[in-house]
């Protein structure tokens, strides 16, 4: 079947959306952006293909069954496949680390084996339904586990922790930048094998399930057209006519999600954009911030680092605030300093955090206002839309300044740009 792919090469994450001829999204994929754009794009695309196969598989079964049990099976299957991918990359990392291990450092290879052995052993637990992972990216999961387990192993074996980490630091970049291995079918089959007995809950025979899987894997996902966009778009591995500006893609993507949207705000890792679109999703106006971390996702990331907190913990903590402490510094670094000042003055963490969230939203709102303000409906996209405290502040500020507005936030909003790009790809072959 003909597929249309949109790739959004962001500063922080790379996203891919795979679409069929009927403008239906089959799969979405995301990975952390890295120095090698080709690889980032290839990984995201591969992830989107995984999603697409799962969708096809679900469709194959879908005629027969629906409901919670079905959803559970799909989730289990997906996790199982992720586990497969994880184990494969982990093995690669282990080998790479060992090859980088200084021969002089005796015992280092053994220690590495020990570390990776333990991670491998706990891996299935990480990919359980409801399990907490630091993030879904290999780099983050592996990194945090190596840190923790490495510390224990270092103590036990007397190998220096620094040496261990240095070896890891050197290797992760290599591993990350290796293009993904194509053998998807094999991973699907192995993945399915692990969860197949659960199919019984659906009163389906193993045979039906296996057949559906075979069918899903057999479909030829032909890449009819690819459109690339995003921060890295100048370096995208595509010819010029296959590249669209991220502004147009975000505008169109938001329009595809919410046909009535007129104003789009995207807060990504390193830039913030405000876009006005017309009833057809055509961009009428836009504004972007310059290369300053104030007012984009990295601002929160930096503050999280400063506080030794995880990014995903910021929002929930700020939600506990009873008031919001005003943060005056524009510069992210000085805001960090101000944060510590305020703490020293006895302000509560959550209240200051609320202030920081307000600060980032205010800065974004000034970009919105430069692009022409907010016209109903308003759509909020980008990574920061995942942060509940940021969303709360946004809603407040919008209410205070523009009155009642419909505010759309899609759980998949991070894919907005890629969705727009995929739509462009589909359209390119329409006329």
């Amino acid at each position: 079947m003909k597929c249309y792919i949109g790739i959004d090469l962001g500063s922080t994450t790379t996203k891919a959306v795979l679409m069929d001829e009927n403008y239906e999204v089959l799969g979405q994929g995301i990975t952390n952006s890295r120095s090698n754009y080709d690889t980032a794009a290839a990984v995201a695309k591969q992830e989107a293909r995984v999603g697409a196969r799962l969708t096809l598989f679900g469709r194959g079964l879908g005629n027969a069954v629906t409901g919670d049990a079905m959803a559970d099976l799909m989730e289990d299957l997906e996790l199982s496949i992720r586990l497969e991918q994880f184990l494969e990359q982990l093995a690669d990392l282990r080998e790479t680390c060992k090859s980088h291990a200084e021969p002089k450092a005796s015992g280092l290879r053994e220690a590495l084996d020990e570390v990776f052995g333990r991670i491998e052993a706990e891996a299935p637990g990480l990919f359980q339904r409801g399990a907490k992972r630091k993030s879904d990216f290999f780099r983050d999961i592996a990194g945090s586990r190596v840190m923790q387990i490495g510390e224990d192993v270092a103590k036990e074996t007397g190998i220096s922790f620094d040496t261990l980490l240095n070896t890891y630091d050197k290797s992760i970049i290599d591993v990350e930048n290796r293009p993904p291995d194509g053998g998807l079918a094999e991973k699907f089959r192995r993945g399915l094998a692990r969860v197949i007995e659960r199919a019984s809950a659906l009163h389906l025979s193993e045979e039906t399930v296996q057949a559906a899987m075979r069918e899903a894997l057999d479909v030829d996902l032909e890449e009819a057209y690819v459109v690339g966009t995003g921060y890295g778009r100048v370096t995208l591995p595509f010819p010029k006519e296959q590249i669209r500006s991220e502004i147009l893609c975000h505008g169109l993507g938001a329009h595809v999600m919410y046909a009535k949207t007129r104003t789009v705000l995207d807060i990504g890792g390193q830039d913030t954009k405000a876009i006005q679109v017309d009833a057809e999703g055509i961009v009428e106006n836009f504004q972007m911030n310059d290369r300053c971390a104030a007012g984009c996702g990295r601002y929160l990331g930096y503050i999280a680092d400063e506080m030794n907190m995880g990014l995903h913990e910021l929002g929930p903590m700020a939600m506990k605030a009873t008031k919001s402490v005003r943060i005056n510094s524009t510069c992210t670094v000085f805001a960090g300093a101000e944060f510590r000042d305020r703490l020293a003055l006895g302000e509560k963490r959550e209240d200051i955090l609320a202030g920081l969230h307000r600060a980032i939203i205010l800065r974004a709102m000034s970009i919105v206002s430069r692009s022409g303000g907010i016209t109903d409906e308003f759509t909020f996209t980008g990574g920061v839309a995942n942060n509940e405290a940021a969303v709360r502040e946004l809603k407040k500020v919008v209410q205070e300044n523009y009155g009642d507005m419909t505010i759309n936030i899609d759980p998949a909003s991070i894919y907005t740009g890629a969705l727009g790009a995929a739509t462009f790809a589909r359209r390119a072959l329409e006329s």
Partner: protein, 434 residues
């Protein structure tokens, strides 16, 4: 046909050669003023009184033009740094800093010789407060005589009798006596009339040139090319025979281009087929002038009208001409009517008119960090134009002569997105129509 020629192959048209010679000759005279026994006055482009200065045989030196020259020759970055070392803030107009830096470095003209110390600072200040501070700063350095002509702002969008009387009174009681004293020449109003007559003749053809952009394809680029076309009329040549001749030549050339159905000449030869027509507000960037222009002509974007070509006098919009019958009054009206001396609603009306009369596809603001006179309020102007014309607008930010504020990647990103947006709109429009 659209293949760009290498610059070496590009034919210089006679008008270009003529202008080059005029400029070179003027710098030659300026740098030899002392030996020729000529007096020199520094003054500004907007509201300059060239015809009046000519009556006294005083040479006209324009610090803005020197700043532009240094900008285009990529010298300004250094000069600005020098001026900042002298205590000027990084926030202020870079023309001022390029000029003061230039002065500190011996004020070397493009011909390699030092510019003379002016005998007079003629502060005819219209459309911008910074001019006033600028000459105060120069006066502080040169310690030379300064005479001010205060031109009131058209706050309500029109010149009142009170304003005109005030300017004329200053011309009579302040400016002319000072010029007489400096030059030792008695003022002769008939001489002024003669000069004004020549101005008006050149202005007639100049307006014709600007309006030629109404053709499709436009034979000129009224912004990037326009800055060359305004040269003689805005600077030390208005009122001279040379200027009259220049505009006659230019008009001939453009008539030929129209007949041949050709687009504008660019530094790389003929431009790509006309794809977009724009009206541009704001001065250009000088330090990356060529690169900036290239971003347009490579995409087939041509500017059909610009407000920058009105800073040194608005001749097309309401038909102003220097008038030998009312010599001092018409000088006053000229000063009062310069583009940035008109209030914002008036500027918006003008742009709207250009958008419509020149059938533009869009409106582009090149907002200049240096220049509050132009820039403060441009965002609102932009939205007002969008509202009135329904055409999309875009906003880019650069600077005049400070290379630090021209970010090619940024500007290109913006322009590309903008061009794509117009394309998408066109296609969308077709989509809807179908």
């Amino acid at each position: 046909m659209s293949a760009a020629k290498s610059p070496a192959e590009v034919v210089k048209e006679p008008s270009m050669l003529k202008q080059k010679a005029m400029i070179a000759d003027n710098y030659d005279k300026l740098t030899r003023a002392k030996e020729l026994g000529l007096k020199v006055s520094s003054t500004y482009v907007p509201g300059n009184l060239n015809e009046l200065l000519m009556c006294f045989g005083i040479l006209n030196n324009l610090p803005e033009i020197n700043a532009i020259q240094n900008g285009m020759r990529k010298l300004s970055g250094k000069l600005i740094a020098d001026a900042e070392k002298m205590g000027l803030s990084e926030d202020v107009c870079t023309y001022v800093k390029a000029d003061l830096g230039h002065m500190a470095k011996g004020a070397i003209a493009p011909n390699g010789k030092p510019m003379p110390v002016p005998d007079l600072l003629l502060l005819s200040y219209t459309g911008c407060f910074t001019f006033m501070k600028w000459f105060e700063l120069l006066r502080d350095q040169y310690g030379c005589r300064t005479v001010m002509l205060h031109v009131p702002y058209e706050g309500d969008g029109k010149a009142t009798k009170n304003m005109r009387d005030y300017v004329v009174k200053q011309l009579k009681d302040e400016v002319i006596p000072a010029l007489e004293e400096i030059s030792g020449v008695k003022f002769d109003i008939d001489r002024l009339r003669e000069n004004l007559r020549r101005s008006a003749a050149a202005e007639e053809n100049f307006v014709w040139v600007l309006e030629s952009a109404k053709n499709r394809p436009s034979p000129i680029d009224a912004y990037f090319g326009g800055v060359f076309y305004i040269g003689p009329i805005f600077t030390a040549f208005r009122g001279t025979d040379e200027a009259v001749e220049y505009y006659r030549l230019l008009r001939q050339e453009i008539e030929q281009r129209i007949a041949a159905g050709k687009g504008p000449v660019t530094p790389d030869g003929e431009m790509a087929a006309e794809k977009y027509r724009f009206v541009v507000e704001g001065p250009p960037n000088w330090t990356s002038f060529r690169d900036f222009w290239r971003m347009f002509y490579e995409e087939g974007a041509v500017v059909v009208a610009s407000t920058y070509t009105k800073v040194g006098g608005v001749y097309d919009y309401d038909g102003f001409r220097h008038d030998p019958e009312r010599p001092l009054e018409s000088l006053a009206d000229y000063c009062l009517g310069c583009y940035t001396n008109r209030n914002l609603p008036m500027r918006v009306d003008m742009i709207q008119h250009y958008m419509e009369a020149y059938q533009a596809d869009g409106f582009l603001v090149n907002s200049i960090k240096s220049c509050n006179s132009f820039s403060a309020g441009q965002l609102m102007m932009m939205r007002e134009i969008e509202k009135r014309t329904g055409k999309p607008a875009a906003f880019i930010e650069t600077d005049l002569v400070d290379p630090r504020y021209f970010s090619p990647a940024n500007v290109k990103n913006r322009l590309e997105s903008y061009f794509q947006m117009i394309d998408q709109k066109r296609r969308g429009g077709a989509h809807r129509a179908a």
